[in-house]
Structure formats: structure tokens, C-alpha cells
């Protein structure tokens, strides 16, 4: 059977035998793993196998683990701190996407627990989405780094957009009181990772006594023109086991959030901060949050046009928080409220 006939069969919904394709001689099917597909690599003029077409803007992490460590050589996390490091492979995937499309998505398939020791490079992540198979507890990554930032987007080179979705993120069980941060969106005076989506994130720890330092920090404080970290959403983000704060939102402009919560932290680790730098161009503005649960202190300063509906253990404010709407069940309030803040407290 000729190659053209085989391809015609395939494109018309038919099939061809792998043995015959093997006879063509430009693809090695020996040891082809169950589930891999064959694609045409025009650069090498060869048929090759992969988990997903690596020339697509949606990359499968396993292909870049194969390329970096060798097919059949790398492993998922097999024990505390052991397993192949996915961080460098995520960098490789982002490089491949950047070269061909500018931005795209790296798919983290369910594979037990993936281990990340080296965080992906912020400038490579920028513009790209890291996505599991959702909504959560399916694609799991364990961060085995006591003082790093697991995912940091910085918008370098003007690559805005990107996202983080459908993942469960764990602090490794032996890290104790780490100084690590799970998620950071923070650029510089020129670039910020604007137009961002965070969705279905369950961020916790693999041991009750292992703690993140910070959970999720979104900080546009370094850019004043255009102002801040601009336009994004956070939906369904549950943050556990922090010891400094669970969420920090600074100089955000035009963000919406829904169903976010902080739990099981130690010290100030359940706190949620909404604020800014104290000037019009560095304060948070136009932030809307529905379904907030703060098991610590919800701290509101240096922000305006903020709407919050939810529950917090305690609420702290001062008069730098203005022109906003609070629909909150709280168990204690401290600080002064500006007259332009409309409240419905339970």
C-alpha cells in the first residue's frame, strides 16, 4: 500500500496498519507507548510519534519530559522529593510554543503526582496558560522547593494573557515552614501579565504541618501607566496552609473573582489583603468579588470601587479604602470606614 493511499484512508476516517507505516521506514514504531500518536514533522521530513502534536499551540507536558529526560526514563513523583523535575520541561514547552505561535497552553495531564523542584522561568511562562484536566484533584503538582515561587508570570516582552487552571498544587510534605509562594503575577514598570485567567485551583499541602509562605499574590504595583495589573479573573481558588497570607491583591484594575477562600493557615496565613501603594495610580480599583471566605483577617486599604460579598472572620479597614460596597458577614471589625463605603454587615 502506498503512503498516499494510507493517508487517504486516514483522512476519510479509515485506518491503516502500524506495521505498514513502519515499512515506510521513517518512523520508529518499536516501543511506541500506548496512547501516542503519529505526526508529520516537516522540518525533518519525517513521521514521528508523540503524546500530542508538539507543533500544536497546546503542548502535552509528557512530550517535553520525553525530550528532556528520554522516553520511558522520567518518572512522576514516587516519594517525598523524588521524581523527575517538570519545571525545565515546562520551560521547553513554552519555548516551543513561543517560537511557533507566541503564546499557547501547556497541558498537565493526570499522572498521579508531578514533581516540580525548579520553578518555570517567569519570562517563558508569560503569555502562556498552564492547564490541567479539571476541575481539580486530577492534575496534581507537588512543589519541592522551600524558598521559590512555583508559578510566576511577569508579562516580560509584552507577552500578556495567560492562565492557570484545573490544577491541584501541593507544598511538599517535608518543607515545614517554607518561604515559598504558590502563584505570583507581578511585572515591572513596563510590562504586567494583563488579561489573565485563574480558574479551578486547589492549593494545599501534602502534610498538615507543611506551609506555603504566601498563597496567591497579584501585584501590579510597579506600573503606573497604564495603571497596574489589568483585567483578569479568579474563579474557584481554594488556598490552604499558608503562614504569611493566603491572597494579596495590589494595584489590580478591573478584575472579577468568584468563590475564593483561605483555610487551615497558621499565624497570619489565612489573611487576605486588598490594597495598593497609596496613590491614585498604584491603588486597586474596579475589583469585584463574590463568594469570598476568609478564615483570617480581610484587610482593606488603598482601594476604591471594590465590591465584596462573603464572610470573613475579622475585617480591618481604614479610610484609604473608599467608594466601595461591602456585603459581608464578619465576626469582628477594626479600623475606620470611609463615608463613601456602603455596607451591609451581618
Amino acid at each position: 500500500m502506498t503512503l498516499s493511499r494510507q493517508l487517504a484512508d486516514l483522512t476519510s476516517g479509515g485506518s491503516t496498519t502500524l506495521a505498514t507505516l513502519d515499512d515506510i521506514g521513517d518512523v520508529n514504531l518499536t516501543g511506541l507507548e500506548d496512547g501516542k500518536v503519529i505526526y508529520r514533522d516537516g522540518d525533518d521530513n519525517l513521521w514521528k510519534s508523540a503524546w500530542a502534536n508538539p507543533k500544536d499551540p497546546v503542548a502535552d507536558l509528557r512530550d517535553f519530559m520525553d525530550a528532556r529526560y528520554g522516553a520511558g526514563v522520567w518518572t512522576a513523583r514516587t516519594g517525598v522529593g523524588t521524581g523527575s523535575d517538570i519545571g525545565p520541561a515546562i520551560d521547553d514547552a513554552c519555548d516551543a510554543i513561543r517560537a511557533r505561535y507566541g503564546s499557547g497552553e501547556v497541558r498537565i495531564v493526570p499522572n498521579g503526582l508531578w514533581l516540580m523542584t525548579t520553578p518555570p522561568t517567569p519570562s517563558k511562562l508569560s503569555g502562556n496558560t498552564i492547564a490541567g484536566v479539571g476541575p481539580s484533584h486530577r492534575s496534581n503538582i507537588v512543589f519541592n522547593n522551600a524558598n521559590g515561587i512555583m508559578f510566576h508570570w511577569n508579562g516580560a516582552g509584552g507577552f500578556t494573557n495567560g492562565g492557570l487552571k484545573n490544577l491541584t498544587l501541593f507544598c511538599e510534605s517535608n518543607l515545614g515552614n517554607s518561604t515559598s509562594t504558590a502563584v505570583l503575577l507581578q511585572g515591572d514598570a513596563s510590562f504586567q501579565p494583563d488579561q489573565f485567567m485563574i480558574e479551578n485551583i486547589y492549593c494545599t499541602s501534602l502534610a498538615a504541618n507543611a506551609y506555603w509562605y504566601n498563597g496567591c499574590l497579584l501585584n501590579g504595583g510597579l506600573r503606573t501607566a497604564p495603571q497596574g495589573l489589568r483585567v483578569g479573573c479568579v474563579n474557584n481558588y481554594q488556598q490552604f496552609n499558608c503562614r504569611n497570607f493566603a491572597f494579596g491583591f495590589y494595584n489590580l484594575v478591573q478584575w472579577t473573582m468568584e468563590n475564593i477562600g483561605s483555610y487551615t493557615g497558621t499565624g497570619s496565613g489565612n489573611n487576605i489583603y486588598i490594597g495598593g501603594g497609596g496613590t491614585a495610580s498604584t491603588n486597586t480599583v474596579q475589583l469585584s468579588i463574590d463568594g469570598l471566605i476568609c478564615s483570617g483577617d480581610l484587610n482593606l486599604t488603598n482601594a476604591s470601587r471594590v465590591y465584596i460579598q462573603g464572610s470573613t472572620n475579622t475585617l480591618s479597614t481604614d479610610t484609604s479604602f473608599t467608594t466601595s460596597w461591602l456585603d459581608i458577614d464578619h465576626n469582628g471589625i477594626g479600623g475606620a470606614l470611609a463615608g463613601s463605603v456602603y455596607t451591609r454587615f451581618l
Binding site: 499541602s205 501534602l206 498538615a208 507543611a210 490552604f240 483555610y263 487551615t264 478564615s295 458577614d329 465576626n331
Partner: protein, 43 residues
């Protein structure tokens, strides 16, 4: 003299229950993934 029993407010009960449920949720996930005996509370 018998100590006076302090009645918990509805809000205290809400936060106590929330904390209990979320701790259980976290520990159940750890147990599911790591197996029994790996919870740090027991380590």
C-alpha cells in the same frame, strides 16, 4: 461554685464548623494521595 457555661455565638459555631470541615477536606485529600499514616498530624 459551678463554672458558668459560656454560650457560643452562631458566628463562632459557623467558623468552628468551617474550620473543622476544611481541615477534614484537606486531610482526606492527603490520605487519599499519600495513604494512611502520612498525615502530618500523626507524624
Amino acid at each position: 461554685m459551678k463554672a458558668k457555661k459560656i454560650k457560643k455565638s452562631a458566628k463562632d459555631i459557623f467558623w468552628e464548623q468551617l474550620n473543622k470541615d476544611k481541615t477534614r477536606e484537606r486531610d482526606d485529600l492527603i490520605e487519599k494521595i499519600e495513604g494512611k499514616g502520612k498525615k502530618a498530624d500523626e507524624s
